[in-house]
Amino acid sequence: MTKSVLVIEDEPHIVEAISFILSRDGWSVRSHGQGQDAVAVVRDNPADVLILDVMLPGRSGYEILQELRADPATRDLPILLLTARGQAKDQDIAARLGATQVMTKPFSNNELLASVRAMAGA
């Protein structure tokens, strides 16, 4: 069965690159570029892995992450948080909020692919 990834990211070219990489590896990729309705989109589009950007229009990725972890339905969803801030304190915030893994931009395609595979248990 094809595993799926949902990408919540407002940068279309980044979405395109991630989609290309994951699609070639056999993943089904869907994307959404807004923050304010991201939680609803996640609930309505179940996926094996969520790639979530922090800086989103309308709502921050941190808030979305926090709400998803508070919901039993999405508490255990593997979430890869993408952030431009790579300081230790930002990593701590992401970990406390429940991110499965954090990756800073710019990222390596191979590392992103490896992380998604690992989180999905592939």
Binding site: E11, H13, I14, E16, A17, I18, F20, I21, R24, M55, A84, K105, P106, F107, S108, N109, N110
Partner: protein, 457 residues
């Protein structure tokens, strides 16, 4: 103009140093100025004060300017060095250069140090000021890096573009079987995002350069304004007369007013100073000063004006005006924050934080609209006296739903030029300090933090 007699150790020490520099024996100098060698010895060891006539004679015999032997100019230097020592003690720095832990500057020898090594003392004070400025710059830039929304957006733009460029470049490099459509699409994305990256980086550099230039100037807009006024003796001739000057252009292109905030504050200052000049025109002030001298109670009776306006006006008149000695001015808001300072030699203001709580400037906040006059002596310098006059009044009347905005103003006049203010019939000056951290008064009920000087003693 009657001159104040010299004060404590600075003058005596300085006389001795100048004599030694001149290669003159004590007996020779004493003979030249008409005193005994033993008396001169007492003077040089700070056990006798020097009268004004003798000070003139000594300066002449030593071939120096009297100001070089005077003490007033060193008050600010003294306080700066004490502040530098306090800073070093507070930071708990490791003992440098072979000093043992717990050793520090010899605070009881500061005056001797200034007298013996004026150049080194000035250098140390200047370096301390420079360090403080740099620390504030770093603090401001760090705060801006962390909290400036425009900077955050610019950084995000650069990193997002960089992330896209990197990801796409890797795809193009590592995907041997990429279809022509994808290749073309990714090349287009690369082109667009590389342009974003270049423009974003340039914007970031411009932003940081602008921030650095602004912050590398004087530490705060208030200090920029005060420096601008100090450079002009606090008198702005364009504000005098009946013709209304254009005020905004007066703040443009001024080297001291580097920041927009400083220019804004300068404009507000000019507006108020212009209003003061219209209410108390220069000819009227000249007449009143000729009649009463710098005696604020008599001037108020003569001019019938608001006391705070009179104090501001006196501090904005031309230097050397007949009947007007050098004066200082301090203005604080209802929180006690000093919002304006015109320094007076011998009565330094703290560069950071509030002044001595005993200043009438703060006392009048508790009794608004009631002027207070006090003769003050700065702790550690008992022979140097200042007549102060203060009043607090609202800058903005309180409405039913809005609080009043209070402001206190204090005029400082060296004695004996001003008449002793009423209120202390025994003529005893009130002992005050500059700031608690560097004040030697151990038993002051208003002390808010320990003094490094008390710790030393």
């Amino acid at each position: 103009m009657a001159r104040q007699a010299s004060r404590t150790s600075l003058t005596g020490t300085r006389i001795r140093e100048r004599r030694v520099l001149a290669g003159m024996r004590q007996a020779e100098l004493a003979r030249r100025v008409g005193v005994s060698a033993s008396y001169l010895n007492l003077i040089e060891h700070n056990r006798r004060r020097v009268g004004s006539e003798l000070l003139t004679a000594l300066a002449g015999a030593l071939g120096v300017d009297e100001a070089a032997l005077a003490e007033g100019a060193e008050s600010a230097l003294l306080d700066t060095l004490r502040t530098a020592a306090a800073r070093g003690a507070g930071e708990g720095a490791d003992a440098p250069f072979g000093l043992r832990d717990g050793d520090g500057p010899e605070l009881d020898r500061i005056e001797d140090f200034i007298g013996r090594y004026p150049g080194w003392a000035a250098l140390l004070a200047a370096q301390h000021g420079r360090i403080a400025t740099l620390e504030r710059t770093v603090e401001r830039l760090s705060d801006r890096m962390a909290h400036d929304p425009h900077l955050s957006a610019a950084v995000h733009e650069v990193l997002s573009a960089a992330a896209s460029v990197r990801s796409v470049a890797m795809i193009l490099h590592e995907t041997d079987d990429i279809t022509p459509d994808w290749r073309e699409r990714f090349h287009s994305n690369l082109n667009t995002d590389s342009l974003r990256l270049a423009e974003g980086a340039q914007a970031l550099v411009r932003f940081l350069e602008a921030a650095t230039d602004a912050e590398a100037a004087l530490a705060s807009p208030q200090e920029e304004l005060e420096a601008w006024l100090d450079a002009r003796g606090h008198h702005l001739p364009a504000l005098e007369g009946s013709r209304a000057p254009a005020l905004a252009p007066m703040t443009e292109g001024q080297a001291e007013l580097a920041s927009a905030a400083a220019r804004q504050m300068a404009l507000a200052h000019l507006e108020r100073a212009r209003a003061d000049a219209l209410a108390l025109p220069l000819p009227r002030m000249q007449e009143a000063l000729a009649l009463h001298g710098c005696d604020p109670p008599k001037l108020l009776a003569e001019l019938g004006c608001d006391p705070a306006r009179l104090f501001r006006r006196l501090a904005a008149l031309p230097t050397g005006m007949s009947g007007l000695p050098p004066v200082g001015l301090a203005i604080c808001d209802g929180s006690g924050t000093l919002v304006f300072r015109r320094a007076l030699a011998g009565f330094p203001f703290p560069r950071f934080g509030a002044g001595c709580p005993l200043w009438p400037l703060y006392q009048v906040l508790a009794q608004p609209l009631t002027p207070v006059g006090r003769v003050l002596a700065l702790a550690g310098r008992p022979d140097q006296r200042f007549a102060t006059f203060a009043v607090a009044r609202p800058r903005q009347p309180a409405g039913f739903d809005a609080p009043a905005v209070w402001e206190a103003t204090m005029l400082i006049v060296p004695q004996p030029e001003a008449a002793a203010p009423a209120g202390r019939s025994d003529g005893t000056p009130m002992q005050v300090g500059t700031a608690c951290r560097i004040c030697p008064r151990a038993d002051c009920p208003a002390r808010r933090e320990p003094s490094i000087l008390a710790q030393e003693f």
